[in-house]
Amino acid sequence: MIASLVLLGLALPATQAQTGAVRLAITRDEGWLNPYTYQTGFPGWNIMTLVYDTLYYPDANNEPIPWLVRDTRVSIDGRTWTLTLRPNLRWHDGRPLTSDDVKFTFEYAAKVAHSRWTPTTRNLEGVDAPNPQTVVFRLKQPDAGFRLRTLADVPVLPRHIWESVTTVAAARAFRNTVGSGPYRVEEVQDNQFYRLVATPQYFAGPVKVRELVLPIVRDATVSFTALQAGQIDATSRVLTPELVAQFEKTQGLKVARGAGFASTILQFNLEHPLLRDVRLRRAIANAINTNLMVRLLMLGYAVVGSPGYLHPDSPFYAQGLRFEASKARAVTILNEAGYTDRNSDGIREAPDGTPLQFTVLTLAGNPIRIRGAELIRTWLKDVGIGLTIRVAEDAAIIDQVWPDFDVCKGRRFDMSMFGWSAPVMTRPTALVDLFHSNCQRGTINIGGYKNPEVDRLGEQLVVTVDLARQKQIASQMQQIIARDLPIHVLFYQDTIMAYRPSAYDKWVFQKGQGYVTKLSFVDPPK
C-alpha cells in the first residue's frame, strides 16, 4: 500500500497545471453518454470513452495500446487471450473494477443487442475470470481485428449497476453513467449541453482539463462562427475547405491538419445489368478527373482516392497502388467494348440498344457530394454517358442503397455518392466487410460485389493475427479490387480542425480522425 502511494506520488509531476474548463462543441444529442445511449460513432464514441474505459485504446496512429490492461498473453493458435488488469482500478462510485466486470460486459453485449458491441461477441466462445485481476478470452477462431475492434472498442460496464437492466429498451433508457474513465458526467441538459468533470484520482495519471463543457451545435456554420466569436474553444466538426485559409489567418485560432480516413466514393450497383461490366466501370472511372475534383471541390484539402479503397497513410495500404484517370482511355475502352452512340443523341448505347443512362443518388445535406456528382455528370457526358442526379435525404438513400442496413436484402440503385467513416479505414478487416460476397461477412458490401479470389483472401485475412502477413494479404486484395473497381474511390477529405490555443493547447491529433480522443485529456498509462 505504502509502496503504491510512493509510486503514485512519483508519477504525478507536481508542477503540471490543470486547465480549468474547455468548451468543445459536438454535433448532436448523445443520450445519457453511456455505452447504450450514446448516438454517433464520431464524436459520440470518443466522448463516451472519456467516461468509460476500454481494455485497450487506439493511440495517435490508431494502433491499440493497453489501457486497463497491464499484460497480455496470446496462445500460439491465437484463440486464447489472457489479460491481466492493472491494479487499483475503480469505478466512479469507489467500487473496484475487476475481471468479473469485464466478463459481465461481454456476456451482456451478447445478450442485450447493440450494433457496435454485440457483433464483437460473435466470435467469442467464452470469457473467464479466474481471479479478480485476470480475464481470459476464448475465441472460436483467431481474429485479426481482436485488439482494435474488440479490446480497444468495447467499454467495460460496471456489473453491480448494469446487472438489473436486462432488455434493450431498458438499456437504452438507462441513465446511469458510472464508469471508470477520466471524466464523470456532471450535468446533462437535453439537447443543449453536457458537463463532464475530471475524476480526482484517475489511474492513468492526472487529467489535463478539469471541466469539459460540450454544447450541442447542430448547424455547421453556426459552430464555426461560435468558434471564431470565442463562444466555444473547439469543435468536433472538420473544417470545410473554404474556411481553412480564413481560420488559419484568424487571430487566436490554431488549425490542426492531417490525413483524413473518411472516404468519398462513387458506389456502383454490381447487379445492374450494365454496370456489372467491369469495362464500363473502368471507363467511368477513367472519365472522372479526381485530381481536378480534389482541387475544385476540396481546394486541395484532400488526398486523391486509391483504387484499393485504403488511404495511402493506412498501415495496410498496398504500396504504389494508384489510379490514373484518362478521358482518352475511357473513350477507347467504351469503343472497344461496343458501347457506341448508334442514334447520335450524344448518349452511347450498349450492343443490345440500351442507352448508357444512369441515376446517381446523393445526400441532400452534403453540398460537397452534390457538387461532386455534378462534376461527374459533366465528365461522363463528355464520353457519352448520361447521368441524372437525384438528391435525397439520408434515410431515403439508405432505403435504396442499403435497405434496412442489411446487404442480404439487395439494392435498388444505379450509382450513389457514398462514403465510409474513419473507423472503417483503420480496422484491418475493413476490406472483408467491404468486399466479401457473402452478405453475412461482407456486411457493408452494399454494391453486391462478388469475386471468389477476394473471398478466399478475406477469409484468410480475418483469422491472421500476424501483422506482416495481414498487410501482405490486404495488399493482394487491394490489387484485385483495383482491377475490378466495384467502387470508385474519389478522395479522402483531410481532417482539419480548429481550436483556441488560449483555452487549451494540448490536443492530441489522432491520425485520420482528429483531436476528439481520450489522449487529448490524459496521457496513456505507463
Partner: protein, 324 residues
C-alpha cells in the same frame, strides 16, 4: 347552446381522430428505417437475426393495424411511448422542450401582433401617402425574407461581428447560473432568435390589420363619428381600430395553437432546444414515437386554440352573439 357545444364537441373529436390517424400513418409512409437510430450507426455489422430480434423488441414487425391499436391504447392512457433515438418517454422529452418554445414563439407572436396592429393602423390611416406606401414595400420585403437567411445575417452581425449576443443556445452551457443571473442569461440568448421570428411574423399581421382597417374606414359609422366632430385620434382608435381587430384576433388565436409546435428553422439555426428542432430531428431519425407525440400535442393545441376562438368570438364580436 348545449346542442351547439355538443355538435362542436363531436366535430372536434372527429378532427382529432383523423389527425391522430394521419400522425400514425405519415411517418411510416416515409422511406427509410429507424433501425440505425435504435441501435446506432454500426447496425450494418449486426447479423440478420440480431437485427430481427431488435425489430421485434420494438414492435416494428407487428402488422400496421396492431401498431395502431397499441398506439391508440397508449394515447388513452396519456402514454406517448418512448423515443427510438433517446429511449426516453416522449412526453418527458416534449415537456422539456415546450417551455423554451412557448417562451420564444409565444413572446414573438405577442410582439409581432402588437407591432403589426399599430403599424397596420397607422398605415391605413394614411392610406396612399408616403408612410403607407413605404410600409407596404417594407412589409413585402420582410415577408419574402427567408428566416434562416435573416437568422444568419443576425448571427454574422450581432453575434460574430459586434459580439453583443451569443451565437447559439438558450443559455450559457455549464455556467451553472441560478435565479436572476440565469434569467438575464436566458433573455440574452433569446434576443436574436426572438428578433428573427418576430420580424418575419410582423408583415402578416401588418397586412391583415391594414386591409381590415381600410375596409372599416369605408364604413358609414366612421363618417358618422367624424361628422359628429370627434377627434381623429378617437375615431381611429375607439371606432375604427377596435372593429378592425377582429380578423387579427382570429389569426392570433390560430397562431396561438402553433406556439407549441415551435419554429423549426429558427430553432435549428440558433441551436435552440425547442419543439421545432425536436420535430426536425425526429423526422431525420425516423423516430416514430417522437413524431407522433409531437404532432399529437400540436393537434391538441391547435384544436384547443380553435375552441378558444369559438368561445372568445361572441365576447369580442356582438354580431356573432346575436346570430345564434
Amino acid at each position: 347552446m348545449a346542442r351547439f357545444f355538443a355538435g362542436k364537441g363531436v366535430q372536434y373529436a372527429l378532427v382529432l381522430l383523423f389527425a391522430v390517424t394521419l400522425n400514425f400513418l405519415l411517418p411510416r409512409m416515409m422511406p427509410g428505417s429507424p433501425l440505425v437510430f435504435l441501435v446506432g450507426e454500426d447496425v450494418g455489422f449486426m447479423s440478420a437475426d440480431q437485427r430481427a430480434q431488435l425489430i421485434h423488441a420494438f414492435g416494428l414487425d407487428q402488422p400496421l393495424w396492431r401498431q395502431y391499436v397499441i398506439y391508440l391504447a397508449g394515447l388513452a392512457r396519456a402514454d406517448l411511448g418512448h423515443s427510438f433515438q433517446q429511449g426516453r418517454p416522449v412526453l418527458e422529452i416534449i415537456l422539456g422542450r415546450v417551455g423554451w418554445t412557448v417562451l420564444l414563439v409565444g413572446i414573438s407572436l405577442l410582439l409581432a401582433t402588437l407591432i403589426g396592429i399599430t403599424w397596420g393602423t397607422a398605415a391605413a390611416w394614411r392610406r396612399g401617402r408616403r408612410l403607407d406606401l413605404g410600409s407596404l414595400g417594407a412589409a413585402m420585403l420582410l415577408e419574402s425574407m427567408p428566416s434562416f437567411w435573416l437568422a444568419m445575417i443576425f448571427i454574422a452581425v450581432f453575434a460574430a461581428g459586434l459580439r453583443w449576443f451569443p451565437v447559439f443556445g438558450a443559455m450559457t452551457p455549464g455556467a451553472g447560473l441560478r435565479g436572476w443571473p440565469q434569467m438575464v442569461n436566458v433573455a440574452w440568448h433569446l434576443t436574436l432568435p426572438l428578433a428573427t421570428l418576430t420580424i418575419i411574423t410582423i408583415p402578416g399581421m401588418f397586412l391583415i390589420m391594414r386591409y381590415s382597417m381600410l375596409s372599416v374606414l369605408g364604413e358609414q359609422y366612421i363618417a358618422t363619428a367624424r361628422s359628429k366632430g370627434l377627434a381623429e385620434r378617437g375615431v381611429m382608435f375607439r371606432h375604427a381600430m377596435r372593429n378592425a381587430l377582429l380578423p387579427v384576433a382570429t389569426v392570433f388565436m390560430l397562431n396561438l395553437g402553433y406556439v407549441v409546435s415551435g419554429a423549426t428553422v429558427v430553432e435549428t439555426v440558433f441551436s435552440y432546444p425547442g419543439v421545432g428542432r425536436l420535430l426536425f430531428e425526429a423526422v431525420l431519425a425516423r423516430d416514430y414515437p417522437v413524431l407522433q407525440g409531437t404532432f399529437f400535442v400540436l393537434t391538441v393545441s391547435v384544436i384547443t386554440a380553435n375552441i378558444g376562438a369559438d368561445l372568445l368570438y361572441p365576447l369580442i364580436d356582438p354580431r356573432v352573439r346575436h346570430a345564434r
